[in-house]
Symmetry: C2
Subunit: 654 residues, 2 copies
């Protein structure tokens, strides 16, 4: 066997072959392990900036890494402050009514929505690296708490237990988020694909809107289920309880809110119209109730809100509760959903403004914000899309806009809570519905259908699962189908017949390039995935079927039979021991039918494994070529100079 460096010859003929397929230089095991661990957990190489720095500088860089405010704070200017002030006040006017609405959605006291817009934004402003994210509670998180916690503890029967468990779940969500960040497991979020999120968000928005029927219709009793069947049953079994006053009011405000949205969409400069609309609705609604005393005619109002800042709640975290495991489960599910939304939103705006967001660092910031929140009477917060978009449109420059919002909320908490006494619940329902309708993204679903049917299936599974089952069912379904696709990609790799592109030495799939012509006597196959245990059996069957079909075709056409099978390994990223056994079996069974196996363009990993398992010796280094073109050249040479018999003889050479 020749072992030269690029100047060895065609077997048994002596013609020189152009290129030699190299086995990559051997690496010690520890080094390759280190490299692959680094790529898995530190793909962004976060310690890059610390390299070659003195210790004091490293300390400052470390502090700045944990608290980005230390980095941009000193450079903060009056220009920035002006912009942040405007955007901060704008988002505060959105945050107050939304906070109250979402707290109601989570079956928590409305005041918690205000508390949650005070502490967490301050924490995020110090630790977060996004300049555009506006922190607050989200509808999906609130809904999840209501449905998951509500199935264990009824909020109206044991309000205190329910409240404390909500704090505990928030605490665990924070701990989970921080751990993900510290363990560099940020990529877990990547497993929620775009399609999953579109379907999931749409489903959650639908469910949230359905829940609002309670408020709009002024119903007293309502189902605890979130699925469409229970809700519809609940609504239509008590038609006699519907309150027309409430319904009319709700529809009017919904129309007003949608109108302002429409205007803001048509003229982006009027973003503040839709941003201010919720607060306007609340003020108008409260005034209306106050003046007409509609609360005595079936229009439910918020009632008393306690004055004062967040009371501490650390001592109220019930770690000894029998529902501890439920709280942990809710914490993990809501934590990951909150992360997915927050990080996706942060990344989108960072891309617009061309700066960089470190996913793992963001997770730590989100987690710290929720841990701090759970100790100060807040529940789950993240970076909601709607509020962040308003923040961005209002021209925020840094996270100071979050601080401004927190201050505005603080003033509200200290002095203005009595003003919300007469706010009708139906206005809050309208605000939620108006926000949710924007989350149902038909266009995205249609786009998915057009581009990738499988992604569309994933999206619909998530949607249907959430709407007809529950939020968790939808999520698990979508993630399972997405993973199944990845496993199927490996388990059923595509194999393609290659042909020669006219006037070139290039070989490509004949399906993609109908003009490509096959080479007589030679079958060229490309394998499109790593060869692993999961597909080794399939590939063996499939290759033998390709050969059978090709021979049948040749026989039918009366042409000379097949002599060589070239496997293009260019797209085979890796191979395991099952894969190598498969290649050995394929080679053996081919030899038995007088065929010769030729490999083209195996990559570094594959060459390494084939070398270590002695498959290269078994096959013969002279049957491995750098390109399909060279392999075909060698085969053609053999076909035309040697008798077919020579091929079988040749195999004894190895």
């Amino acid at each position: 066997m020749s072992t030269g460096n690029g100047d060895y010859k065609y077997p048994a003929t002596g013609v020189e072959c152009a290129h030699h397929v190299a086995v990559p230089p051997p690496q010690p095991f520890t080094k390759s392990l280190k490299t692959s661990l680094k790529e898995t957990f530190f793909p962004d190489d976060p310690l890059r900036q610390f390299r070659n720095q003195p210790a004091s500088r490293k300390f400052i860089l470390g502090l700045q890494y944990l608290f980005p405010i230390l980095e941009w704070g000193p450079r903060y200017s009056f220009q920035f402050l002006k912009a942040d002030l405007i955007s901060g006040i704008t988002i505060a006017s959105l945050a107050i009514p939304q906070g109250i609405s979402y707290a109601k959605l989570a079956n928590l006291p409305p005041i918690l929505g205000l508390y949650s817009s005070f502490v967490p934004p301050l924490v995020y402003a110090m630790m977060g690296s996004s300049r555009d994210l506006a922190v607050g509670t989200v509808a999906v998180g609130s809904l999840l708490i209501a449905s998951m916690l509500g199935s264990e503890v009824k909020a109206n029967e044991h309000p205190q237990t329910y409240l404390h468990l909500a704090f505990l779940a928030t605490f665990f969500a924070g701990v989970f988020q921080v751990s993900l960040g510290l363990l560099r497991l940020g990529f877990v979020v990547d497993f929620l694909s775009h399609a999953t999120i579109v379907g999931f968000m749409g489903g959650a928005a639908t469910v949230v809107c359905l829940q609002q029927l309670k408020g709009i219709l002024g119903l007293d009793h309502f189902t605890h289920g979130t699925d469409i069947v229970s809700v519809m049953r609940s609504v239509f079994t008590q038609t006699h309880q519907w309150r027309w006053e409430s319904g009319v009011l709700g529809c009017c405000f919904l129309f007003f809110l949608m109108l302002t949205k429409y205007f803001s969409k048509r003229r982006p400069k009027l973003f503040w119209v839709s941003a201010m609309a919720p607060l306007t609705s609340v003020i108008l609604g409260s005034l209306l109730v106050y003046l007409t005393h509609a609360e005595r005619h079936g229009v439910q109002v918020i009632g008393n809100l306690k004055k004062g800042l967040n009371p501490p709640s650390l001592s109220e975290l019930p770690f000894g509760s029998p529902y501890l495991s439920t709280a942990i489960k809710i914490g993990i599910v809501t934590g990951i959903i909150a992360l997915a939304e927050g990080i996706a939103v942060g990344r989108s705006f960072a891309m617009f403004k061309n700066y960089h967001i470190d996913g793992n660092k963001e997770m730590i910031a989100f987690g710290m914000m929720n841990i701090a929140g759970s100790c100060t009477s807040c529940y789950l917060t993240t970076g909601p899309f709607s509020r962040s978009a308003v923040n961005f449109n209002a021209g925020c420059k840094t996270a100071v806009s979050n601080i401004v919002m927190a201050m505005a909320v603080m003033i509200t908490l200290l002095f203005l809570t009595p003003l919300f006494h007469y706010t009708p619940l139906v206005v809050l329902s309208s605000i939620i519905i108006a926000a949710m309708l924007g989350l149902i993204d038909y266009d995205a679903a249609i786009h998915l259908w057009k581009v990738d049917k499988f992604d569309f299936i994933v999206c619909m599974a998530a949607y249907i699962g959430v709407v007809f089952g529950s939020v968790e069912i939808g999520l698990v379904l979508a993630v399972a189908i997405s993973l199944l696709r990845m496993v199927l990609f490996v388990a059923r790799p595509r194999t393609m017949v290659l042909g020669n592109i006219p006037n070139s030495k290039i070989y490509r799939s004949v399906d993609q390039y109908p003009a490509a012509s096959t080479v007589p006597g030679v079958l060229i196959l490309e394998i499109d995935a790593p060869i692993y245990f999961a597909n080794a059996g399939y590939l063996r069957e499939r290759i033998s079927r390709w050969i059978d079909e090709e021979e049948d075709k040749l026989k039918a056409a009366g042409e000379s039979s097949l002599q060589y099978v070239i496997l293009d390994m260019g797209a085979v990223g890796n191979i395991d021991t099952s894969g190598i056994s498969m290649l050995e079996e394929v080679k053996k069974s081919m030899e038995r039918s007088g065929l010769k196996l030729v490999l083209a363009n195996p990559g570094g990993e594959v060459m390494k494994k084939m070398n270590k398992s002695k498959f290269i010796e078994l096959l013969g280094q002279e049957w491995i070529y750098l390109t399909v073109g060279e392999a075909v050249g060698a085969c053609n040479f053999m076909l035309h100079t040697c008798k077919p018999k020579a091929v079988t003889d040749d195999s004894t050479m190895v």
Copy 2:
């Protein structure tokens, strides 16, 4: 944008470009769905032979498909019969003592081992497609039944319930196997990789050997656990109970059996020496006990075996039992393990003799054999490796050897069972240990370590899980790690910098080919896996890091800065909508830093998706090349004829 067929020009320059990257011709959705379903479930195209045949012929082919005996039966010759007679009697002499031993291992009445070597082989002979497989009970399956069933029902306390549940589990194993075959889910077995099976079998063999310490040491009480810790504790807490007579006898027979194995291994022609050794041991041991009355001195014997053929047990299947779910679980686990062993064994021998085995058809045969078995007092059977190897070495020609074995067992059942009365249990233990030691495959484990460290980890996880935990733990651990590897392959694809192989237009990884030289001003990256949601985020980060690193390097060397980034998409088998968004983001952020994205060699699926999502329009068809060489040519041309500025201007052209 040019849309020609291979004769369009370099952008803004007018130089002709050689090849055009084609979007594959569109296919209707139903057709592509049909193709992909067919590839997933019918990769072997089982209906090929039915095509273009008259109805009567189709019926005969269908019968032959279900009962392969109808196909080879008519061609059966006297020559075959002679060979099958010899091999059938040989395996019967092995089957009888092994059957009794394994039934003891499963804590079932010993006679069941003989029953299970009578009916199932007859069923398999009619329905199976392997010519070399010898049907019988297996150690691992027996152990699984003992440990899984034993943890629910104690065999010595409720022997009747235990027995009936074993039948029920066998029934469900059969139903599960048939369903897998009918649903074309044969590929489930592929998920047990070679590495998993090596580790699992080794672990199971170790556990089985440890269990035999009971028989060898003549202990009356023994742990119900299978893990090494419980067994060792059980053995060493009752050292005063050890029986030296039993121990000496056991060691002698073990030595004898190992010696015959050694001889047979050195001289394959003497295969019958080791094949006959178990029966010889049984006869010798029985004679010894009969003559010395050792059963009165602490040597336990089998005792009475009922004469007569298998009693029917259909009416004894306890479908109403409270342990129904346990039986179903045991059925599924043992069913899949039995399939994995049986199909792997069948395939190996089929490969030797160059015939074909249909996995899905085999599953149906195995399943029918177990369903029939569960109705005739048999427990789980499959094609054990040891017995099939003896069958193969004895020169069997067809499944008739199984019929001969069944006849021999039938004669034993009818007339010879009293002869086993004095057979000492310790001989059975020696037989099991001798068989098991062959299953611990050190060489394979060392081979795994050398070739693929990850496979070695999987193998060791299975081994340690089985030995220190339980059979199920080992199995789940190994399968989970194997799947994790596949997911990691997709989640963390390798990206490689390509360089030009000297004196060619070929571009390959500079890691694999250290001689390859990079092109000034151009960074060429190859992505090694499909671009899916799970890796889109990672790839975005990694590509931007490659660019940063390259620019740092160029700056340090004082060279001109980067102008083009070429992505070689040759190994990207597929892309989803998240992947396309990623490409869009990468393009945008590159443009912001004055870089131009160029794609080389995208495959059919990728072109289709990029076309549907309008990414091709966004990028410009003129920035997609058929090979990296052509892309570099175009970039070089632009670099040397146009000013760098022209590149950024160009992007407005689209």
